[in-house]
Amino acid sequence: MNALLIQYLQKYLNHKNVFFGIIKKFQIHSYKSIRTKIIISSILLSVFPMFIMRVFIYPTGKKALQDALIQNLEGVGHKQSELISRWIEERKADARIVAENPNVPGVIYKSEGSENFYRLLHHLNTLRDAYGYKEIFICDRLGDLKITTSTGKVITNVAGFEFFQKAVSGVTFVSDIAPSVIPLENEYGKLELGMPTLYISTPVVYEHKVIGMVCLRVDVMEISKLMRSVRLGETGETYLINKDGFMISESKFLKDLKDAGLVNQRTTLELQVIDPITKKLTRSAEECIKGKKGHDGEGYLDYRGVKVLGFWQWITALEWGIIAEIDVKEGYGPVKKLHMIVSPIIFLVTIIVISSSFFFGKKMSDPILYLTEVTKSISEGDYSKRVKITSHDEIGELSNSFNKMASILEEKTQILREYTANLEKTVEERTKDLVRMNQELEKQSSNLERAYKELLTLDQMKDKMIRDVSHELKSPVAQVQMAIDLWSKEVKKEYIDRSKEEKFSKIINDSLQRLRKTIGSILDLSVLESGRMVFRKEPIQMDALVLQTVTAMRLLADKKGLALINHVNQGLPAVIGDKEEIQRVITNLIDNAIKYTEKGEVHVFLEQKDVSIEFAVKDTGVGIGLPKEQFGKLFERFFQERPRVDGAGVGLAICKNIIEVHKGHLWVESEGRGKGSTFKFTLPVAQEGTS
């Protein structure tokens, strides 16, 4: 079982692979592809009519056929029902005719052997043979048999039978078809017990009294003959059933049923009309027994297990049901046949349409795809690509236009490329220029900024200088003023503290000295700077001058505990200048060195350097806190690195001025604050011949 399943699955998978292979071959990658669109719309357009036919037209045709079939079955059913009713009525009439025979009362009252008896027997035999009755017999009021056409075994008293009781009660009666209680001759000429029999009985009335009964035993096969008198195609039949659902006529398919072992001799009373699968009464039999009339056009299983269409009706007077049925296969045969013819055609047409959809879809979309491919190449930069389509339709025209466009594009692109290259070169050059300009501008800007900063600094310095100088002038004045104020107060006191007098006197003196010095320096400088100052031009022996000055200054150095050390080279050539002014410079420089040195030494050097005499004062004092590039500021007028200590700040400015007038050079060297400083100046050696 499992192996079989696996085999089927493999088969399915193989088919699936083949299908996908086909799809792949036709490149149906996406529903967006134009080829796919063409193929799908072609398939839809062709399959749509078939779909409409299958869904709407086919069922409508089937319904019409079904209606016709049912109508036919119903007609047959009705006809058969009428036929059987009339036939039974005729049999009843036969019975009544016999009952009214004038010989009957005589036979009932008199016994066998009379003339009446034989005349009646002859009549009955004639009647039996003419209408095919199995037996005609007459009984008296007690049920005792008086005359019969039968020559075989007979029932001598029928008082227990229903047909007798009904007849003597005055009614013409048709019995059920029931098995015989005595062996009777069957359709094969043999005696058989339980043969299906139908009795029709009627009372014999003589002088307004029921004196007996006439009974006809009907050949049930006659009913079957009636049933089969109407043809209903190959498989159509009508049959009768009794209220227990047993068939009371012969089935058209008796032979098959016998072969299948469902019946022995006949279907009458042997075959119950049941569905062989559900073992229940068939739909028609069940509905019929309920006394209903109806039909089924969709089909149900009959007693053979075959799907049939059916009509059924209950004949109330006889308590029989009549059923007309035909195999669905035959009923819908024409439709099936049509279907059998049409389906392959539709299938074939579908296959052809789908194949041609693929074929034409491919044929139509291939040039477009090709164009797309080429367009893609061009868009990616390959302008040399051209389309090779030579067809004379719109695609061909499109290809030509496309090629023309591509040529123009290639040409234009080339021009553009050249232009761009030129442009790039130009832009590059311009950029370089711009960068250069920008750098220059930046440089200028930074220069400007520096200049501006310098200006700002200069401005601030100017403010500071003015403040410092004014302080240097105002402070001694204030001291003098306050000293005088306080002393004048002091002298008003009764007791005058003379020690204070001394102090006040000193303060006033010092202040005035300071003031005089400051004012003098400022005046000197202003005269020097104005150029109105007249210098003497005399030979100066620098070694002698320096030694003289150092000796004079030694006292000041000793006072502060500093060593003033002399390194003066002797016998140096003379310089030309104003001896007094040069001495002023030397004094000022040594004075500063002592002033700014708290401990250590002050060294004084004098030596010849090339054509110059170089003087230097080196101390171990406070040094210079300024950056080296700002050392020049020290020689600017009113500059005070440390106000209060520095005085008016004109001393070094005066020195520089004097040295420069003598064509010399004055500068300072220092390693920073606290590291001492060396002030140096040079003066040119006097040229021979000058004095």
């Binding site: 105002k474 010092d510 209060r644």
Partner: protein
Amino acid sequence: MSRKILIIEDEDEFFFFYTMMFEGTDYIVNRALNGKQAFEKIKEDKPDLIILDLLLDEMTGDAFLRQLKSDPSYASIPIIIASSFSPRSYKTIFEIDPALVFLEKPFTQEKLLASIKARLG
């Protein structure tokens, strides 16, 4: 109760004048030569008033003032500026302490004591 006054003054002459002027008053006078020394003295013994010269060697008067005012524990000490400059050239100093009194040198004893009194009440 005697009030403590810290005088920050580097010129001996002026300090001599201060001692003369405070003679006979009950102010207790202390001296600092520069800003750095002044902070040490303030930390040691917080004065009730400070008299400050603007030109100091180690630290300028306004720098000292700024530092003092930024310290919450000393910001409230009243300040008198005593300088030979005119207050016109030192306007920015009032931005640091709008309440300070500017005493231009030379000043008289009366003026000094009146200024102190105005600040201390």
